[in-house]
Amino acid sequence: MSDITELPFSFLRVPQMRLRTPNIPRPSPMVVFWLVFLSYFLVLSGIIYDMIVEPPSIGSTTDSNGNVRPVVFLQYRVNGQFIIEGLSAGAMFAMGGMGFIILDKSNSKSLSIKNRYFLIMSGVLCILIAYNLCLVFLRMKIPGYMVTSS
């Protein structure tokens, strides 16, 4: 029976190919984590806002002498930003997260005491700098931040 069904195709020569589905190795959890961290940095920099609204990468004002001076932070509005401003704030968020990660890594085994001190110091420093810079940025945007008006 199978000879009859194969007859129309007998003039074809089947090529000798060995196809197999590519074996993509599963990435380790930490690799996936760093990818997620990178995308978190991008999203929190407001990259989607940049792609849709297309603000300038840095603002400019002309002062009294007619010089054009750059303005990094778009003032008085929380729902608007420039591209560089967003990226620098995103870097601060990432640095703060890194601070906590460094603090956890400082407790790992096989670290000498000097290295442990170093990691703890740098972790705390990352967190402090990131938080305070974020506050500075926010005060530049909204001058009335944390000033109770009533």
Partner: protein, 747 residues
């Protein structure tokens, strides 16, 4: 080939049951011992478990009270009044439900909205919010606590926020442990991203939807961890409540299948996952279809197809797993290849037929714009015009989350370093929530709970590490040379206890700063009723603008009962609820071309607009004008959206006609003639040239656009002024009726 890949996934089939560890803080103490506990505490030392239980109870009660009280700023400053626009429709529907009963409510056809089309309210709302408020109202009245329905509506969201804090405690407890649960509950009680939509007076779907969301996710994690039918069924009931509450239930029914797929890909398939998802999908879909507004969408629309596809894949997975255990490997490989190909072919053919015949409807615009954010800007101006639908900037993230923006990646790190079934769910929820919050500001609401839980995870891990430092005594100083013994723990630092104390106090300070920020943001930014405006005068005293309610009351008292009011769609719900009059378009925005008609009328010159208004049977026109007070969200600032929406259906309305030749939008002498003569301009600036608004400026100076108006002293031919509120915020005009011989007469 494919078979080895498949085998590798199943090879990690392990049954993971969480064995409850007999830790002291998980022992449950009956409540009747509580009274004896208090006496015990007072008299002698009390056992650690009872101490911990009391402490936990105290903390949770404080969090409950805190979540409620921090949302009461506007009630204390102004009065107990409903805010914004959408809540007014919800309030009106709840009043109808309470007065008319359930069956009349479900069959309600509203003739006073979208004249002359009407609106089938029973079939086009999510009734969960109204049902919840009505249930609270009836329960209170049954025990003779007669609270007015308005107060029930105003205070429902803060009460549900307290409940959300409790459910978040349970959720985080399920994922990590009780200490993380307590921190998560404290975070979510005051996080500004959630407060903005659940403050007292904000009577909107999100107020109860977030409670239902976290409840569903908590029950889902519990179902996956235990694999019991009971928890899965409870999860489907919570999902039903979510479907009845908010259109964002689509997030749940796509996140959970995504989680199942990721579990399959990471080789964590188990019978518990199978039981949980199959129960949830079947029961949940059946229950979801009970809501009239949802109807047959769970089996028809593309937004639900992912759940259906995952259901099929899970069945295939389970079936192949079972067959494999009964066959020899070579037989199984042949069987696997042929059957898989056949089933995939049939499924693909079925899906293609469904899409081609239109049975499977494509993604609706609202949800499609989440994946392609640029699509709405070009295609549907209404979606693009809502300010809540704009993408998010960094400042919005920091404003709404504060330190959670730092703790979120830290929490992710801790989750990734110790992957469990529950952790993976949290990770996926976090990633998708961050992306969607980045696309649309309004969805920051969905990010806030997961940011709180992940932040609590990070804080809890950090605190546990450094609290351990506090308990161990300082070690003797070890010599610098490292010995060759096995190092099982990190080498202890000589200043261990001091370090622990410093870190603990540092984290405590950070949390205190978080609560300062949250309270400031709640008080200053998110507690304005928006129906009542306030401004500060030069001497510091507060000036209240109550023009909106004044105008709506005037409408209700001084116009005929069947008068039709034309205004921009923003104000439709408020006019219906407070003015009790028929409106042409309202915030439901379900009919784009009807709104475009209104936009065309506003953008045309007075004679053309009069024809449109006569065709639509309009009696009164209402506009919002901020030029006298400096109120920036008035109709002139929204005017370009009216032009765009009108232009999307009528190609004669061209947006560039309303700009100056240089491309600016101006209302002074340089303004475009089309702009200076359109109906909106005339209605806003009628008699405005007689008014002095600012010292040192000519009369007719618009304080929002900062310019003197260009077209002054004109007269209205087809309308006449009926009412202008005290600060000129709301202006109402009556449309004159034609007389028998074609002229205009005032009736």
């Amino acid at each position: 080939g494919t078979l080895t890949w498949f085998n590798s996934l199943l090879g990690f089939h392990r049954v993971k049951m969480k064995t409850p560890t007999k830790e002291l803080n998980q022992v449950k103490v009956p409540a009747k011992i509580l009274v004896a506990d208090v006496k015990d505490v007072l008299e002698s030392g009390v056992s650690t478990e009872k101490q911990e239980y009391l402490l936990k109870l105290l903390i949770l009660s404080l969090i409950y009270l805190l979540a409620f009280s921090t949302r009461l700023f506007s009630v204390l400053r102004y009065e107990s009044v409903i805010h914004e626009f959408d809540p007014y429709f919800n309030y009106r529907s709840t009043k109808y439900l309470v007065n008319e009963g359930i069956y009349n409510f479900l069959n309600w056809f509203d003739q006073s909205a979208w004249y002359p089309l009407g609106r089938i309210v029973g079939g086009t709302i999510y009734p969960g919010l109204m049902a919840t408020a009505a249930a609270v109202y009836w329960v209170l009245h049954a025990v003779n606590i007669t609270v007015d329905i308005r107060n029930v509506c105003v205070l429902l969201a803060p009460w549900f926020a307290s409940n959300t804090a409790m459910v978040t405690y349970l959720f985080a407890k399920e994922i990590k442990d009780e200490s993380a649960g307590l921190i998560a509950a404290a975070f979510i009680a005051i996080v500004p991203g959630y407060i903005s939509r659940s403050v007292a007076g904000s009577y909107d779907n999100e107020g109860i939807a977030i409670f239902a969301l976290i409840l569903t996710y908590y029950l889902w994690v519990k179902a996956v961890k235990t694999g019991s039918l009971f928890w899965s069924a409870a999860c489907s009931l919570a999902y039903f409540y979510m479907v009845s509450a908010w259109g964002g239930y689509v997030f749940i029914i796509n996140l959970i299948p995504l989680y199942v797929l990721v579990m399959l890909l990471t080789g964590r398939y188990s019978s518990r996952l199978y039981t949980a998802y199959c129960t949830l999908y079947v029961l949940g879909t059946l229950l979801a279809m009970q809501i009239t507004f949802v109807g047959f969408q769970p089996v028809q629309s593309s937004e639900h197809m992912a759940a259906f596809g995952t259901f099929g894949i899970l069945q295939l997975f389970g079936a192949f797993n079972w067959v494999r255990s009964h066959m020899t490997p070579e037989n199984f490989s042949r069987f696997f290849k042929t059957t898989l190909l056949a089933i995939l072919a049939i499924a693909f053919a079925g899906f293609a037929i469904g899409v081609a015949t239109g049975y499977i409807s494509p993604w609706t615009g609202r949800f499609y714009s989440l994946f392609d954010p640029t699509w709405a800007k070009e295609n549907i101006p209404i979606i693009a015009s809502v300010s809540e639908h704009q993408p998010t900037t960094w400042a919005s993230f920091f404003f709404d989350l504060h330190i959670l923006t730092f703790l979120f990646p830290a929490g992710m790190y801790f989750c990734f370093s110790k992957l469990t079934d529950a952790n993976i769910f949290l990770i996926i929820y976090g990633i998708t929530a961050v992306y969607f919050a980045g696309v649309m500001v309004r969805l920051m609401l969905v990010l806030a709970p997961v940011a709180c839980v992940l932040g609590a995870y990070a804080v809890s891990c950090t605190l546990q590490t450094y609290a351990k430092h506090l308990k161990k005594p300082n070690p003797v100083v070890v010599s610098a040379s490292t010995s060759k013994r096995n190092i099982t723990v990190a080498q202890a630092l000589p200043v261990q206890r001091e370090l622990g104390a410093i870190m603990l106090s540092g984290i405590a300070i950070m949390l205190v700063l978080y609560s300062f920020h949250c309270t400031w943001v709640t008080s200053e930014a998110y507690s304005s009723p928006s129906i009542v405006l306030a401004a500060r005068q030069h001497d510091g005293s507060r000036l209240i603008f109550d023009d909106f309610r004044e105008a709506y009351r005037w409408l209700g008292q001084n116009t005929p009962d069947d008068a039709r009011i034309m205004s921009w769609w923003d104000y439709g719900y408020q006019i219906s609820a407070m003015g009790n009059r028929t409106v042409l378009v309202d915030n439901n925005t379900w009919n784009n071309s009807h709104i475009a008609q209104v936009g065309k009328a506003m953008a045309s010159p007075e004679d053309k607009a009069y024809e449109i208004m006569r065709a639509l049977d309009v009696d009164y026109v209402l506009v919002i004008f901020g030029g006298l007070t400096g109120y920036a969200s008035d109709d002139i600032n929204k005017f370009l959206w009216m032009v765009r929406i009108a232009g999307s259906t009528d190609p004669n309305i061209i947006e560039s006609n309303y700009y100056t030749p240089r491309g600016e939008f101006r209302i002074d002498k340089e303004g475009a003639p089309a702009m200076l003569n359109c109906l909106m301009y005339k209605l806003c600036y009628y008699r405005f040239s007689e008014v002095y608004t600012e010292q040192g400026r000519a009369p007719g100076y618009d304080r929002v656009r900062n310019a003197e108006i260009g077209n002054k002293g004109f007269k209205l031919e087809y309308l006449e002024e009926a009412f202008t509120s005290q600060h000129w915020l709301v202006r109402v005009y009556k449309v004159k009726t034609p007389d028998n011989r074609g002229g205009i007469v005032n009736l």
